[in-house]
């Protein structure tokens, strides 16, 4: 006879789970009781939100399913932000929550929350387990949906009496999805490669084609296929924040990030293009700017695995539904039968040095210089995790990684507090990799308690706080669009982060902007940064940033990409 808790853990092992992140509590105690000897390693964070973000970090860097555990009620509700984050950014995540015992469900019992209901609109699939017999199937099905198609979050809510109950257990089961007529159609449509001739024809007619790469490139595992295709097309190409790293930044046709804080070159080329080929991107508002003025001259070809994302902004000329690993080779096979028009003139204009330069004011910013110094000294194959805010956009603009999973951030949801716990998950997944966590002073304090997790595990995470003593991105918007009314964004009473880190027994130090005024930086500063990055211990570096430093280029909300601001304009 096996307890329900043992069955859960055996099923997790059968799904390949080695690590889970969580925080114990009343209803989930039987599962914690069964952990020892189960083969599943549990990482104790100091808050459930830390656990779910750490599981996300693990999943984002490995492509495997991340697992978070929490108890009922507040434990479960503390997972919700991470679940929403995983939904937005297509992260395979399984959350296992304890629930009050079956007889008490619906009675507003102590620590009872309808987590199934709360997370219904945020999950791909969820299950409130009713009997111990359902556990193997629930876990198999949950993992299936978390991984399949466009990956996403799953919640499995298990009443505590189901975890304690016993039954004969013959082993984990495998889930096979039900067939449905639509699947058959999709399958039939998928093998129909007529889309390839349509796109080839559009390319023949185009004079200013561009390519946009999103997260789907890395999620599909189709990076080699995509890179071969882009080399063949040789047209101006840019990426969303989650597509960074999919295209080697040194590629002559690559223009960097597109969108609200994208490069001038990328946004300009997109605005001028007459054919936009989208590979695995949702085209959300941070990418498109004002939707009705997005790519105004372009026909759109959209390669996407999730049909629900198609035509959200504008109807496409051609929609190609499927995994890029399947659709790109079909398309490339068709392309080989055609000679492409000569796009060299267009490429020369779009990729010309005149457009490629970032705003000179930005380059002069000490914070950007600091990030450039930091990134240039990172060991090969490092992973940078950015929190949310100005530093996130600076990092996205300046970090030039060729690794599709080398830059991790909360993009769609924009959840402050993501970076530190996510870095825990990344470092556990990649123990020999340099993991650099870049946060702002606001976001760092949202999950600052995870310093204890870093210390307890001795993880050599390198943490940087870009400390401008403001909620910087909000303040920037207040400056530019709200007549400098800095309402409730002043964080000048921040604690001393260096002292806080010391309290956690983490080595920490401070650099200020003066260290970046010299170019190149002094040997002393350079050596200090090198030592920091190569330390075998966790370390915190606090960089004092000018309070009113801004991120440019910037496309104001509701504006078209062509209306990006390259520098600060006087307040009206």
């Amino acid at each position: 006879m096996h307890k329900g808790a043992d069955i859960v853990l055996q099923c997790l092992r059968a799904e390949g789970v080695e690590l889970v992140f969580g925080y114990p509590g009343g209803a989930i105690m039987p599962l914690y009781d069964a952990l020892e000897g189960s083969g599943v390693r549990h990482i104790l964070t100091r808050h459930e939100q830390g656990a779910v973000f750490a599981a996300e970090g693990y999943a984002r860097v490995t492509g495997q399913v991340g697992v978070a555990m929490a108890t009922s009620g507040p434990g479960a509700t503390n997972l919700v932000t991470g679940i929403a984050d995983a939904k937005m950014d297509s992260v395979p995540l399984v959350c296992i929550t304890g629930q009050v015992r079956s007889a008490l469900i619906g009675t507003d019992a102590f620590q009872e929350t309808d987590v199934f209901g709360v997370t219904l609109s945020l999950t791909k699939w969820s299950r409130l387990v009713r009997t111990i017999d359902e556990i193997p199937e629930a876990i198999a099905e949950g993992f299936y949906w978390a991984r399949s198609g466009r990956p996403g979050p799953v919640v499995i809510d298990i009443p505590t009496d189901m975890l304690k109950a016993k039954k004969e257990f013959s082993g984990p089961v495998k889930f096979t999805p039900h067939a449905r007529p639509a699947d058959a159609k999709a399958d039939g449509g998928f093998t129909d490669t007529s889309f390839t001739t349509k796109i080839a024809a559009l390319l023949q007619q185009a004079s200013k084609p561009v390519a946009l790469v999103g997260a789907g490139a890395k999620l599909s595992g189709a990076i080699p296929e995509l890179r071969r295709l882009l080399d063949h097309l040789n047209i101006p190409t840019f990426a969303t924040v989650h597509g960074l790293g999919a295209v080697p930044p040194e590629s002559p046709y690559y223009l960097g990030m597109v969108g609200m804080h994208g490069t001038r070159a990328a946004n300009t080329a997109l605005n001028e293009s007459d054919l936009l080929m989208v590979f695995g991107a949702r085209l959300d508002d941070r990418v498109t700017g004002e939707p009705t003025r997005f790519a105004p001259h372009a026909k759109i070809v959209h390669f996407e695995i999730d049909p629900a994302q198609l035509d959200r902004v504008r109807p496409c000329e051609v929609s190609v539904i499927g995994n890029l690993a399947d659709t790109i080779p079909s398309f490339q096979a068709e392309l080989r039968q055609h000679s492409l028009p000569d796009f060299s003139g267009w490429r020369a204009v779009a990729c010309g040095a005149e457009r490629a330069e970032l705003d000179p004011r930005g380059l002069a910013q000490p914070t950007i210089r600091f990030l450039d110094e930091l990134f240039s000294r990172l060991p090969e194959s490092s992973v940078v995790i950015a929190d949310v805010g100005q530093h996130q956009m600076w990092a996205a603009q300046r970090y030039r990684s060729s690794s599709p999973r080398g830059f991790i951030t909360s993009g769609g949801l924009g959840a402050m507090g993501f970076a530190l716990p996510a870095a825990v998950g990344v470092q556990l997944a990649k123990p020999d990799t340099c993991v650099l966590c870049v946060s702002g002073d606001g976001g760092f304090q949202m999950n600052i308690q995870e310093l204890a997790t870093v210390r307890r595990l001795g993880l050599p995470v390198k943490m940087v706080i870009i400390d401008n003593k403001y909620l910087g991105m909000v303040r920037q918007w207040q400056q530019l669009f709200y007549q400098r009314n800095y309402a409730e964004t002043d964080l000048s009473d921040n604690p001393d982060f260096v002292e806080i880190a010391k309290a956690y027994k983490i080595h920490s130090f401070r650099l200020n902007e003066d260290a970046m005024r010299e170019f190149p930086v002094s040997n002393e500063t350079g050596d200090e940064i090198d030592r920091f990055l190569r330390s075998p211990e966790p370390e915190l570096l606090v960089f004092d940033c000018a309070p009113e430093a801004n991120v440019f280029p910037m496309v104001p909300a509701g504006a078209a990409l062509s209306e990006m601001l390259l520098e600060e304009e006087p307040t009206q």
Partner: protein, 127 residues
């Protein structure tokens, strides 16, 4: 087309795309698993669409919910795709869908899961 002339006017296209709203009936067949009906309804409620008619009932081996919604063409497309993205939704159909729209391939195309090979997917579809 003369050089430099836009391929279309996006604002005009958007207006056509959104179009006027009209009341339509939708028939969604689904397996009656936990939360599936709620997910179907949520696709409407998250768009602040009123739900004047909701009728769920057994239909052969599965279940069917009938909804009447006041929607424009763009919303119809979005709803179709969002419903098909729900794990246990089997089929979506509707009355009064504009010509050809109900058969737009991408609406009815539930993607083959990435974790499943094409062969597995075909086998599952034939099963």
């Amino acid at each position: 087309m003369p050089a430099g002339q836009p391929a279309r006017t996006p604002e005009l296209q958007e207006r056509r795309y959104r179009g006027a709203k009209q009341m339509q009936s939708f028939y969604i067949r689904y397996r009656n698993t936990q939360g599936t009906l709620m997910r179907i309804l949520n696709a409407a409620s998250r768009r602040a669409l009123d739900l004047p008619v909701v009728q769920a009932e057994p239909a052969e081996h599965d279940h069917q919910v009938t909804l009447a919604l006041d929607v424009n063409q763009k919303q119809v497309g979005q709803l179709y795709r969002e419903w098909y993205a729900i794990a246990d939704v089997i089929q979506v159909s509707s009355d009064q869908v504009s010509s050809g729209a109900a058969h737009t391939a991408e609406w009815t195309a539930a993607h083959p899961p990435a974790g499943v090979t094409m062969e597995e997917s075909r086998a599952a579809a034939r099963a």
